[in-house]
């Protein structure tokens, strides 16, 4: 065996790779559903890293099987944290999915840039102002216009 090539190193690089892949997917993907999947991967990597923090190479699982003299055990505290983190992760995932369903119903697309553009246009139409063309050159100062009747209707109407 190569010295320095330990189990912890393999586990750590797996966790590191999962977090990096998840983050890269989070920034690079253009499809919103793919972004949710990337979030799931990054979360899995973070869980692996947390459990690795309490791992001992010469220990047994933190469950007592005999009374009396106990063998060395792994740290139970990170495991208890990860236990609840996984269940909460699935709740967050369901929430993200339901938001995606709403976005799809309203804008009929799931591309990140298109959704952002449509949302911008809708906000601008509701407020009765012109849209910002780009982030670098905004339109300058805009007085808040009085709310007209059709703006009120737009706001309250379509769902």
């Amino acid at each position: 065996m190569i010295p320095g090539f330990t189990l912890e190193l393999i586990l750590y690089s797996t966790a590191l790779g999962l977090v990096s892949i998840g983050l890269a997917g989070l920034v690079l993907s253009h499809h919103l559903f793919r972004i949710v999947l990337a979030l799931v991967i990054a979360e899995a990597g973070a869980n692996l890293m947390l459990v690795l923090a309490g791992y001992r190479w010469d220990a047994v699982a933190p469950i007592l099987t005999t009374l009396g003299e106990q063998p060395q055990m792994v740290d139970p505290v990170p495991q208890a944290m990860v236990l609840t983190a996984i269940v909460i992760g699935v709740g967050i995932q369901a929430l993200a999915v339901s938001i995606l369903i709403r976005i799809r119903q309203r804008y009929h697309t799931l591309d990140r840039n298109e959704v952002a553009e449509l949302m911008d246009a809708e906000i601008a139409a509701t407020a009765g102002t012109a849209r910002d063309v780009s982030q670098e050159a905004p339109l300058g100062e805009r007085p808040i216009p009085p709310i007209t009747d059709d703006a009120v209707q737009v706001r309250g109407g379509r769902s």
Binding site: T6, L7, E8, L11, Y12, L16, G17, V19, S20, I21, L23, A24, V27, L28, L52, A53, G54, Y55, R56, W57, A61, P62, I63, L64, T65, L67, Q70, M73, D75, P76, V77, Q79, A80, L83, T84, I86, V87, I88, V90, G91, I92, A94, L95, V97, S98, I99, I101, R102, R104, Q105
Partner: protein, 228 residues
């Protein structure tokens, strides 16, 4: 340009974590808190599964917080999806194998779920895992027969009662002059099913709450109207 920035960000984060890793010694944690918990858990809580004694005994109020986060996620997902349900019968029903396999698997899944919940203080498992299994068991008939409905009123009733009994057990401990949610240890033999004082009751409450929440979340997701 934007892709390049993203890749640079991910790569830089990976490099940072790697350079942190060189200075850490994984595999031999010092375990100051963990060691103290391991030597005291059996006398203080009576559970042979030390993870259970950490989740419910030492960090019980954290678990209450996690339950409320899960409740908030499920409630807001239901709020976002709304009440507009699709009409029954638009989906194709499952085939013969799926329908009868689902009916035969339902009692098996219920048994496994309650086994996992009730043995949470003795062997690996507990309320969170058992609750997930219960939710899957109740959702399986919906997968086979799309027209079927889960009764949302009953689910909210179970969820509310389970959450209230979790808090109530904590308050009883407070009333007996202990800290909130401190486990009340009844002296009995270790390692049998009815041991560890109030911990199995707390895990039963957690399991029912998680199961009811996830089942109602899944049926909301399955029955929402799709216009794709």
């Amino acid at each position: 340009m934007r892709n390049l920035t993203g890749l640079l960000f991910a790569g830089g984060l990976g490099f940072m974590l790697l350079s942190i890793a060189i200075n850490l010694d994984f595999g031999t944690p010092t375990m100051l808190i963990g060691g103290a918990i391991q030597s005291n858990a059996l006398q203080k809580t009576g559970a042979t599964n030390i993870v259970t004694s950490v989740v419910l005994g030492y960090r019980g109020i954290d678990t209450l917080g996690e339950l409320s986060i899960l409740f908030a996620a499920a409630a807001s997902a239901g709020l976002i999806l709304g009440r507009r349900h699709t009409t029954a019968g638009t989906q194709t029903a499952g085939g013969f194998v799926l329908r009868h396999g689902g009916s035969m698997l339902f009692p098996l899944l219920m048994t496994i779920g309650f086994y996992i919940i009730f043995h949470g203080h003795l062997s690996p498992g507990g309320g969170f895992q058992g609750g997930v299994i219960l939710a899957a068991a109740f959702f399986l008939p919906l997968l086979a027969r799309p027209g079927a409905q889960l009764h949302h009123g009953t689910l909210s009733l179970i969820e509310g009662l389970a959450g209230a009994s979790f808090v109530l057990i904590g308050l009883i401990a407070l009333q007996q002059g202990k800290a909130f949610l401190q486990p009340m240890l009844i002296q009995d033999t270790l390692g049998v099913l009815l041991s560890a004082g109030t911990l199995p009751l707390l895990y039963l409450a957690v399991g029912l709450k998680v199961g009811a929440e996830l089942a109602s979340l899944l049926s909301h997701l399955a029955q929402t109207e799709s216009d794709a």
